[in-house]
């Protein structure tokens, strides 16, 4: 079984995110990390590939490759290879352009199952996987909290009231929540092996896609902030400050 996992490299979320002055594109340093959201997809892919005999896991990613640290993180977990599409023409890509590039790269690799996260940490459009599925003409089994593969693929799809069981034939795309599996930490051997694993770098001309970017950011302003109020150190009576506040608000 051939599993493709869509993974994104993002600026370290612990660092401050900044935008380039005129284009309003996110500044992407040379060293980026694997989006934490995608560690779940990678782990799920590894587990499913292992269950199926001779399964493989290929990573597909679009964006400035930098020093590939984020991609190496995913390879160190155990993925077999990576395909990274990096092209200056793709800076400022909107959701559809991103999906068209990913779909083209995935088709080029071939697949039985595509796995993605539910929303990326830096962009969180939350629609790229569904677009990829439509472009590949496969079902999108989204928001999975569990995934099982037999003849078909069956997931628990998170809903506001619980979950639905959803089933489809392969090939298919699954988007996974952070509750789906517990991602492994790379071992020392994994980290060493990752350095030797194949990483193909593609540009737009390798894929049959004409990138048209229709969404343009014209202006960015800070969101209105709320000001802080009173801070009380709990000395054993902190709860009384809350009681007083609730009284003042006539909640009690």
């Amino acid at each position: 079984m051939k599993v493709v996992v869509c993974v994104k490299q993002i600026p370290d979320p612990a660092s401050e995110y900044t935008l380039e002055p005129d284009s309003h594109w996110l500044v992407r340093p040379t060293e980026q990390v694997l989006d934490d959201t995608d560690r779940y997809g990678v782990e799920m892919g590894l587990q499913l590939a292992q269950e199926a005999e001779g399964g493989t896991v290929t990573l597909v990613s679009m964006g400035p490759a930098g020093n590939m640290q984020g991609i190496r993180q995913a390879l160190a977990m155990g993925a077999d290879k990576a395909v990274v599409v990096d092209d200056a023409e793709l800076r400022g890509s909107d959701a559809l352009t991103t999906a068209r590039i990913l779909a083209a790269a995935i088709r080029r690799e071939g697949f039985d199952l595509v796995i993605a996260g539910t929303e990326s940490t830096d962009g969180y459009s939350g629609v790229v996987p569904q677009m990829v599925a439509e472009l590949l003409d496969v079902p999108a089994l989204t928001y999975a909290t569990s995934v099982e593969i037999a003849e078909t693929v069956t997931i628990h799809r998170q809903t506001m009231s619980g979950y639905d069981t959803v089933e489809a034939a392969l090939p298919a795309l699954v988007s996974v929540t952070a509750g789906v599996v517990e991602p492994r930490y790379p071992t020392f051997k994994g980290i060493m092996d990752a350095k030797k694993k194949p990483v193909d770098t593609l540009t737009v001309s390798d894929l049959d896609v004409d990138p048209v970017i229709d969404q343009k950011v014209t202006e960015v302003t800070p969101a209105p902030e709320r000001s802080a109020g009173t801070i009380v150190e709990d000395d054993g009576e902190g709860h009384l400050a809350i009681i007083a506040k609730l009284r003042e608000l006539k909640v009690i």
Partner: protein
């Protein structure tokens, strides 16, 4: 006049609140048609009319996974009627349908909008960086424009419109892209619901374990409050997703929001920062939640919450 279509999903036999919010906004932008997904009923359609839709396309996916056939059907309607704008909510099925539809129509989708206007092109204000900043974006290219708006961006208000004309729409067979819903597991919904409650008590990872969520329930009960949670503890399986507040959960605006053991990540704040009063309990004085709190208690939830519950029971 512009033609605006609104994706309205059914929830418990009636149009969802999110759908009604979108209809309210849509009627300021043009002539409104609802894309109604669900069983449907005369009263449900009447409500959709009251909130501004003059027409309804009724789509009934039965046991099919919504996204494939509904997106294909809407694509067919678009080819026939050329709307200017299609509004969706930032919600699961909305995202799935909008994403698939966008790929079919070769138009992008603008996500996380909190406001939208329609002129020569569409312009939307949308949250970025977890809500820390607001960006203004436009979409160029051909119509329709597709926009996903965050819940609670617009207040749902009826306009007293008449019952709309309803047209049932056949769902096409999507072949290899089809999926089936074979079962539905519904978790018990007890007590006040997050969207309606005047008081919400929410817990985060600082509670330490799933069992400690009982502390949140103990404080909520005497206040007749709804209970909420961060994504961290939903993902950990401590509480169901229905309790999640934030960017990828519910957006709430209660009179009082009590956050216990919650760090206050941007993605959580974006779902609750418009609460009238925020009270936070966290043992770390540097926790970002304190920067939005009207009252902050620097302390241990294990000590503050039980005493608070006891005091509330007494008063």
């Amino acid at each position: 006049m512009a033609t605006v279509w609104v994706f309205v999903q059914e929830s418990d036999g009636a149009p969802s609140t999110l759908g009604l919010e979108l209809l309210t906004k849509a009627r300021t932008l043009g002539d409104v048609t609802a894309l109604y997904v669900g069983e449907g009923s005369e009263s449900a359609f009447a409500t959709v009319g009251e909130y501004g839709a003059s027409a309804v396309y009724h789509l009934t996916p039965a046991d099919a996974l919504v996204s494939g056939p509904v997106a294909a059907a809407i694509a067919g309607l678009v080819a026939e009627h050329s709307p200017d704008l299609i509004l969706f909510g930032q919600a699961y099925d909305d995202r799935d349908v909008a994403g698939r539809l966008a790929a079919r129509l070769e138009r992008t989708v603008l996500s996380n909008a909190v406001d939208v206007s329609l002129g020569d092109t569409v312009a939307a204000t949308h949250e970025i960086f977890g809500g820390a900043q607001l960006a203004m974006s436009t979409i160029t290219g051909e119509r329709p424009y597709l926009v996903l708006a965050r819940p609670k961006s617009f207040e749902a208000e009826p306009s007293g419109g008449p019952a709309p004309t309803v047209t049932p729409v056949d769902l096409p067979d999507v072949g290899a892209a089809a999926a089936r819903v074979t079962g539905s597991h519904v978790e018990e919904k007890e007590g006040p619901q997050l969207e309606e409650a005047a008081v919400i008590v929410s817990g985060g990872r600082g509670l330490g374990s799933a069992e400690k969520y009982a502390l949140i329930e103990a404080v909520a009960k005497p206040l007749r409050a709804a209970t909420g949670a961060t994504r961290a503890i939903v993902d950990a399986g401590w509480v169901p997703y229905a309790k999640q507040v934030g960017q990828t959960g519910k957006t709430v605006k209660p009179a009082v929001y009590i956050a216990a053991g919650i760090s206050g990540a941007m993605q959580h704040l974006v779902g609750m920062k418009d609460s009238k009063t925020i009270i936070a309990i966290n043992k770390d004085p540097e926790a970002p939640i304190f920067s939005v709190a009207d009252l902050g208690i620097v302390g241990d939830v294990n000590s503050v919450l039980p005493k608070l519950a006891e005091e509330l029971e007494r008063s």
